[in-house]
Symmetry: C2
Subunit: 350 residues, 2 copies
Amino acid sequence: MVEGLRILRGSPPRLGRFSAVYAIASTRTSTIPGISVAGPSPEATLLTPGLDAEYLLLGRPASFDVVPVTPEGLPTPALLTRACLRLLGAAPLVIDCGSHLEPRIPRAVLPSRAVGGRIDSEQALPSGSSRRLFEEARLLGSFLGGSSELVLVGESMPGGTTTAMALLRALGHRARVSSASKKNPVGLKEAVVARALSRLGGSEDVFQINDSVGDPLHISIAGLALGALEAGARVILAGGTQMAAVLAIAKRLGKDLSGVHVITTRWVVADSTADLEGMVAEIAPKAGLAYIDVDLSRSRHKGLRMYEEGFVKEGVGAGGTCGLALLAGRGPSEILAEAEREYEAVLGGA
Amino acid sequence: MVEGLRILRGSPPRLGRFSAVYAIASTRTSTIPGISVAGPSPEATLLTPGLDAEYLLLGRPASFDVVPVTPEGLPTPALLTRACLRLLGAAPLVIDCGSHLEPRIPRAVLPSRAVGGRIDSEQALPSGSSRRLFEEARLLGSFLGGSSELVLVGESMPGGTTTAMALLRALGHRARVSSASKKNPVGLKEAVVARALSRLGGSEDVFQINDSVGDPLHISIAGLALGALEAGARVILAGGTQMAAVLAIAKRLGKDLSGVHVITTRWVVADSTADLEGMVAEIAPKAGLAYIDVDLSRSRHKGLRMYEEGFVKEGVGAGGTCGLALLAGRGPSEILAEAEREYEAVLGGA
C-alpha cells in the first residue's frame, strides 16, 4: 500500500529508473466557444500547451509573460506536475506533436506534427498524418523505453476530452469523458461529436478515423506508449478520461495493454459525468488504474482549494506525476507543501 | 577485460540501462575547400549531419536518396553505429544543435540551434548563443541522465576537427586533432585556426570564445554531458579528437570529469598527426579513454577495408557505439558481420 495512492485495478507499477515525458498539441476544437476552459479565452486555449511546456521546464513562461489559467484565474495543473517533479528530482521531456505555439525550450518534435482541425466542421488532420505521427512517436517511444524502465506520458491539449469522445465513439466504445470545467458541457460536446461522426464513412481503420475526427495528440501518445512497451518498459498514462481514447487506439491496433497503468486524480474519478473506471474496464481489462488522493482543501491558497470543488481536475500529467512522487515515498502532505511553494512562486501569495 | 575494447585510461564504464544520443550540427567551416571529406563536395558537407541522422534512425535517408559518402565513395561511419545499435537492440535519439538540413525524423531540438559560421572569416555564432545552447543542452542532459544510468553522446558535424582545434588552442591546450581524410590537411587547418584566433580578443570566457571561433556542436555536447553527470549518470563521449574540445570546455567551466569516458576507434588513436591520448591526459586526467579494436581488413567489402587504411576513421559515435556493443558482450566478429550486412543493405554488394 502506498499512502495517498488509491488502486482501482491491477497493482501499481514498480518504480525504477523512469522517464517523465509530456506530449503537447493543439486542436482548433478547443476554440469552439464553451468547449474548453484551459485558457482565459477560447482562442487563447491554442497557446496553453506551449506555455504549459515552457512553464514545466523553466518554471516560468518564455514566449509570453503569463502562466496558463482558466477564465476564473485558476492556474494550470502543470503546477502540481512541476511540484512533484521537483520532489522526484526529475527533469521532464516535452514532446511536440502539434502545438500551435512552439515552446522555446529544448524538446522533442515529431516531423509530421500539425495543429488539429475543428472536428465539428473540418478534417482533424491531413490524410495520412495519423499513421505518420503514430510511427514517428513509436520510434521515439522505443528510445524512451530502451533508456529507462518506466515511461510516464502526460499531455496538454485543450479540447482533448471532446476529440477523445469522438475517437471513443468512432471506435465503438462508451464515451463518458470528464472536463476541466466545473460544469462539464456534455450537451455541447455531444453536438460537436455528432457533427464530426457524420463526416466519418464506415472506416474501421484507426488511422483514417483519427485523420477524420481525432487530433494529433492521442494517436501520438499511443505510438509513444506502444514503442516504449515494445522496448521492454512499463508505461504510465498520466491523464484522465482522454487516456481511455489512447487505450482504444492501442486496442484497435491489436496491442496487449497489460504493461500499462493509467494514473489520474481523485477529481477525475469523482466526476459523475464521466466514467474512467468503466471505460478502462471495457477497453483494457489488463491495464492498471489508480488515482492520487491528495487533499488540497486545506491549502492556504484559494486557487488550490478550488481544485477540490471540481475546477481543472487534471492535465499535464498532474495525477500520474504526483503518483510517481507517492510511489517514490513522498507523502501527500509533502506534495501539498511543495504545490503551495510552487503556487507562491508562480502567482504570489494570492 | 572486454574482447575488442582497449583501455588507455581508467576502467570502462559499467553498462546498465543506457541512452544513445547523437548530436548533429553544421558549420560553414566545412565548406572551406580541402577542410572536410565528410561529403561528396565541400558544399554537400552541410547536408551530411541531417542525412546521417535520417539514415541512423530509418536505415535510409529521407530528404534525399543518398547516404553520405566521402569523395572516394566511402560510406558514413554511421553504418558502424547503426550495425552496433542493432546488435544492442537500442533505438537512438538525434539531437539537432544546428543542422543545415532538418532531418525528417522524430528528434530533439535546441531552440537556439544555428548553423555555425566559417571561422576563418566570420563569427561562429550570434553573440550569446553559446551560453543559451549550453543551458538548453544541459536541461536535456538532465532528462537523459535522470532516465538512464549511462548516456552515450555521439556527433556528426563535418569541419568539427577544425573548430575543435580552434577551441582547444583558444582554451590554452595542445591541439593535435585527427581528420576523416587519409591525409590530414594540418597546414590548412592551422591557417584557418590562425585567422579565427586573430579575431579573438583576450576573452577567457568559454561562451564568448565559442561564439567567436567555435561552433554549435561542442558547446552543446558539453551541456548534454554535464547535465547528465549532474543527474547522476555516467557519460560516454563517443568520438575522436573533437571530444578533447568538449573536455576542454567542461574543464574551463570548472567541472569534474571523473564520470566521463571517451571511447573512439583504433583508427583515431593510430593517427600519428593527432594525439587524443595526450590531450585527454592533459585536459581531463580523471576521464577514461578507450578504443575499439575491430579489424575490418578481412571484410569482403572494399568500402569497409579502406577504414583500415585511414579513411573516415570515426564519426556519428561509431567508436563509442561499437564500444557499447563490446561491453554488452558482442564480439568483434559479430560487429564485422553486422557491419557487412548493413553495408550490403545500404550500398549493395560493392
